[in-house]
């Protein structure tokens, strides 16, 4: 369905300003409706309307790399309440390739997914997965791991693939550098990412049905981040991602860059914090004003037998669970917890892949219900109390709270008792 029919006619005061600055350009297929803002912190609860459905934020987006959510069917994923998930442009561009997906009438259709899709630019995967890659002004040059052919991924190429995939949100190609690198390369990457953003905007063939998000770069350098924010927010893009983080940098640097970014990002547009997915990070960064998150961790760890619970995690393959006849989390209402015990899952991991599917279903449910709880508490005006309860449950004592989380929360006036 076209977004225009889905979009609420009344965007309220919030969006009025946006459309005026948008001037002549056509409206993007996205509308952000801010429902509540935490009076204490920067947290906010919004309805983000996209071409395939409305997304309730803050939201965690599970990652379905190759056009599938691991062993979960698209029906199961939708039943878990997932409104948006990710596909990886690098993988899908390689196999089955954009031509085939175009023939299949887009990725939604190919994988039979009725809700929204976000695709990355492919740049991150290329730099992290492919040893032989070289970044030039033109784009990222790399050798295909499948046939050895040399391929150039330019901003135009990345957008062309994402146009073929037909995702609801596309990401610009950015010049990715490790978050632990310092020096002139960081500045070069930031400036190049701005130039590439302009090329991506120009290359988007479907601005009426595919949203293009900019990615804020600048490493761990506050001045570079600010410069990037200042420049990118001048562009008329429907949303912003905070990039270049979650790559092994110190947590103290991480949260400072996040909060700096949300300080400068326009209130009226969605903010997507890339690659973040641990429970405590989700809660803290929601407090810092981020709306969208993604991470492979919850589904990956599920396949290795680890179930996420409000007090941490359960490595179900460990012998200690062999005779534990409780569900993973007695308070969880996912299909796995309603039917199976830790002991049965422990046994099943020895012989069948269905064990992974059970834990994947539970972990996705855990992530989605955590974000749902964050949202409800914001809507009900009790987000700070929610954070305190969350921390008490997650950590055995106050002494074990991670100091970065305590400081980050204090920076937005949430004190932990």
């Amino acid at each position: 369905m076209a977004a225009s029919t889905e979009r609420q006619p009344d965007m309220g005061a919030v969006n009025a300003g946006v459309s005026s600055t948008r001037a002549a350009s056509s409206a993007p297929p996205l509308a952000l409706r801010i429902l509540a803002e935490c009076p204490v912190s920067k947290a906010r609860a919004c309805d983000l309307t996209l071409p395939h459905c409305t997304v309730n934020t803050p939201v965690f987006m599970p990652v379905g790399t190759q056009g599938t959510m691991k062993g979960i069917t698209s029906d199961q994923l939708a039943e878990l309440g997932c409104q948006i998930c990710l596909g990886n442009t690098y993988h899908l561009g390689m196999r089955p390739g954009p031509e085939l997906i175009e023939k299949a009438k887009g990725l939604h259709n190919f994988m039979n997914w009725k809700n929204n899709l976000l695709t990355d630019s492919g740049g991150f995967q290329m730099v992290s997965l492919v040893a032989l890659s070289e970044v030039t002004e033109e784009g990222v040059r790399f050798q295909s791991p499948y046939d050895g052919k040399e391929i150039m991924l330019s901003p135009e190429q990345s957008i062309a693939i994402q146009n073929s995939l037909g995702s609801d949100i596309m990401m610009q190609l950015d010049d990715v550098v490790s978050s632990t690198i310092t020096g002139p390369r960081v500045e070069e990457a930031m400036k190049r990412s701005i130039r590439w953003l302009d090329r991506c905007i120009a290359a988007n063939k479907n601005p009426d049905r595919q949203n293009l998000f900019a990615i804020i770069q600048g490493g761990l350098n506050a001045e570079l981040r600010k410069a990037c924010l200042e420049e990118m927010t001048k562009r008329d893009v429907p949303g912003f991602a905070i990039g270049g983080l979650s790559g092994g940098e110190a947590k103290d640097d991480f949260w400072r860059m996040v909060t700096l970014s949300t300080d400068y990002l326009p209130r009226t547009k969605p903010r997507y914090l890339m690659g973040v997915g641990y429970a405590v990070e989700l809660v803290v960064c929601s407090a810092l004003g981020c709306d969208m998150f993604d991470c492979v961790f919850p589904t990956r760890t599920a396949r290795f037998g680890t179930a996420l619970v409000p007090w941490g995690s359960l490595p179900l393959k460990k012998k200690q669970f062999a005779k534990d006849f409780q569900p993973i989390d007695p308070d969880c209402h996912c299909p796995t917890c309603e039917r199976h015990t830790r002991a049965y899952l422990h046994a099943l991991f020895k012989c069948d892949t269905a064990a992974m599917h059970h834990v994947t279903i539970h972990n996705i449910t855990y992530q989605l219900s955590l974000m749902q709880a964050v949202r409800t508490s914001i809507l009900e005006g009790r987000f700070p109390e929610f954070v305190r309860t969350f921390m008490r449950r997650m950590y055995p004592s106050q002494e074990t709270y991670p100091s970065w989380a305590v400081e980050a929360l204090a920076s937005v006036n949430i004190t932990l008792d």
Binding site: Q66, G67, G71, R339, Y344, A347
Partner: protein, 412 residues
């Protein structure tokens, strides 16, 4: 348990088993197949994906191969595998081996048999075998048996010994069975052995039939062991010795052509491992089995040609795949399906065919994605169970010959 035969044609039986299970509420249509599981789970499937299937068998098969290593856990759990595995209210049949797995020969002794789990081999005496059944609490289970003749080309003396041992195991199992409170209400199925020696088969059947068993398991007839001609001859000889009012389960045979021949020879129930094996090699069952095509199931009309195409495209397969793959399936890994946007089987109503296309399955297989196994298992199970359902319909309407032509040649 009560067996009602509604139609018998020579040895071929169409019937229904009634008053099954502890509560007596189950019934089982014959001929039929069992639901294949490992550790109480249909491979790749969760309750959600399994429940999308329409023709699920009313009886589920468990194996000691996959459950043996969990004996201690089950004993502590005390409520049996049904509760442990979160199974629906289904009839449970427990067999010794998983027919989808090959076991090395040479591990059967006078007093013991062996099972193979993830932790390796486990040796069981009759007492241990029965303790395991007590922990599992099936509705039906096969008695301990010397199925060693499955593995080798055995000498007559060895065949004779297997029959003797199996009878003596049965007597010991029966004596413990009636002393075990947890197994009251459960039925022991006696195992007929005898390899390819007709006299031994008859002796095994005749002696087993004298015991208070609930039904019969015919062992050692698996696909690699003998030709279908010999299999049919032996089964015919065996069932002559068996009472009419008790069910007969055949182990190790799942191939549709062999199933049809064995039904004609008098078999009531088959294992369900065949659709799983098809799934594991990345294939989808595609043979026609619908005699009366209706708008919803136009399998044979539009898909009939698929079956005949296969021998030619099988030449592109690796030798290994070629040997395993049957002409009842299509290989979704084949490049020809890369841009084929049809469902696996046109007209199939399974979740996979309603939601996805061959090109997507091809992609999932090429990228080793877990969803491939899930979707193929759903389709293959639906197709295989649908085949049995149509087979029963054909028996009722006296059209078995037309049905056989349809399955074997794709046309009536």
């Amino acid at each position: 348990m009560r067996l009602e035969l509604c139609r018998v044609l020579q040895q071929c039986r169409r019937g229904v088993l009634l008053d099954l299970g502890n509560s007596g509420v189950h019934s089982l249509e014959l001929p039929g197949c069992l639901l294949y599981t490992r550790c109480g789970t249909v491979p790749h499937l969760t309750h959600h994906t399994l429940s999308t299937l329409k023709h699920l068998p009313a009886a589920t098969q468990l194996t000691l191969d996959s459950l043996g290593e969990h004996q201690e856990v089950l004993e502590e759990f005390q409520e049996g595998v049904r509760r442990f595995a979160g199974l629906n209210d289904t009839l449970l049949f427990c067999s010794l081996h998983d027919s989808a797995v090959h076991h090395p020969p040479g591990y059967t002794t006078n007093k013991t048999v062996s099972v193979w789990g993830s932790g390796g081999r486990m040796e069981l005496t009759v007492a241990q075998y029965m303790a395991l059944q007590k922990a599992i609490r099936p509705n039906w289970y096969q008695s301990m048996a010397d199925g060693e003749t499955r593995q080798l080309n055995p000498a007559r003396k060895r065949v004779c010994k297997a029959v003797d041992r199996t009878l003596s195991h049965l007597d010991e199992c029966l004596s413990l069975h009636f002393k075990t409170e947890e197994l009251s209400g459960a039925e022991i199925f006696g195992v007929v052995e005898g390899g390819d020696v007709s006299e031994e088969r008859v002796r095994s059947a005749r002696e087993t039939a004298k015991r208070p068993v609930g039904g019969f398991v015919l062992d050692g007839f698996h696909t690699a062991a003998m030709s279908q001609e010999l299999r049919s001859q032996l089964i015919t000889a065996v069932v002559k010795e068996l009472p009419e009012n008790k069910p007969r389960i055949l182990l190790g045979v799942g191939h549709p052509e062999e199933v049809l021949a064995c039904v004609e020879a008098g078999i009531d129930l088959f294992e369900g491992f065949f659709p799983f094996q098809v799934t594991e090699r990345g294939c989808a069952l595609s043979f026609s089995y619908t005699l009366d095509p209706n708008p919803e199931r136009t399998v044979f009309e539009r898909n009939g040609s698929e079956v005949e195409e296969i021998p030619q495209h099988r030449e592109n397969e690796t030798q290994e795949n070629w040997e395993q793959m049957t002409r009842f399936e299509i290989n979704l890994k084949d490049k020809r399906y890369q841009d084929d946007f049809r469902p696996l089987v046109v007209g199939c109503g399974c979740y996979c065919c309603r939601s996805h296309q061959r090109a997507y399955l091809h992609h999932l297989l090429m990228t080793n994605e877990l969803l491939a196994g899930v979707l193929l298992m759903v389709h293959n199970l639906e197709h295989y169970c649908g085949f049995f359902c149509s087979l029963r319909g054909a028996l009722e309407s006296g059209r078995l010959d037309a049905f056989k032509r349809m399955v074997l040649h794709g046309r009536v």
